[in-house]
Point group: C2
Chain length 124, copies 2
């Protein structure tokens, strides 16, 4: 029928993994953007990047965007919109670019570490 419900331990793992991932990809999208983007545009970029559009629901992005701005990695401004409520546009700051460079190094290091351990442990 359907997939079995993930166990609490699996949900915890997914949640932990997501926590770091969401900040990283948001920073990545904005570090490559050529102009400030608002939430829906950012969410669209994430969909483009993945077949699994449900992975990162748009509503889940806003707290992370706010947190990144609070830490000085993003800056935002609100602009009126003709088609609805005002939109908050985000762009990356210089601090954000430095953080993204560091995080990219950390990300690749972490991925290599996991690959190496999982490969190495076959010989235990």
């Amino acid at each position: 029928m359907t997939h079995p419900e993930p166990s609490p331990a699996t949900r915890k793992f997914q949640k932990e993994l997501n926590a770091g991932t969401v900040s990283f990809v948001l920073l990545g999208v904005l570090s490559h953007a050529t102009e400030p983007l608002y939430g829906y545009q950012i969410a669209k970029q994430l969909e483009t990047g993945s077949e699994d559009v449900t992975m990162m629901k748009q509503g889940a992005l806003y707290p992370v965007l706010r947190s990144l701005e609070k830490n000085g990695l993003l800056a935002s401004r609100v602009e009126p919109s003709l088609s609805g409520p005002p939109r908050r546009y985000y762009e990356i700051t210089e601090t954000g670019r430095e953080a993204f460079a560091q995080w990219t190094t950390i990300w690749h290091h972490n991925t290599r570490f996991v690959d190496a351990v999982l490969k190495g442990s076959y010989h235990v």
Copy 2:
């Protein structure tokens, strides 16, 4: 001189990334082990897998091992040791094997997602 101190945001990112990673690699090491392992042996496996032995300090493993056992993914028993205090040996449970299979899928999915977004976002 030395590397600059990582910013609070970078420390938070590293911490979030580590949270999921540690559980995953511990489960991976024990899923491939042919016999129960105690903490020091597990830490050794992690060193083998990586040039960076400081990434996962031995002391940081114990709370995660306990948490995995509490969730039924690992089982442990204490055995006396000739050379020191008794040792707690860990092995993976059937539930743990199922979780590791799921986590491996989640891990690869997450890695592909990040790669795709970062690649895609170059064209923003």
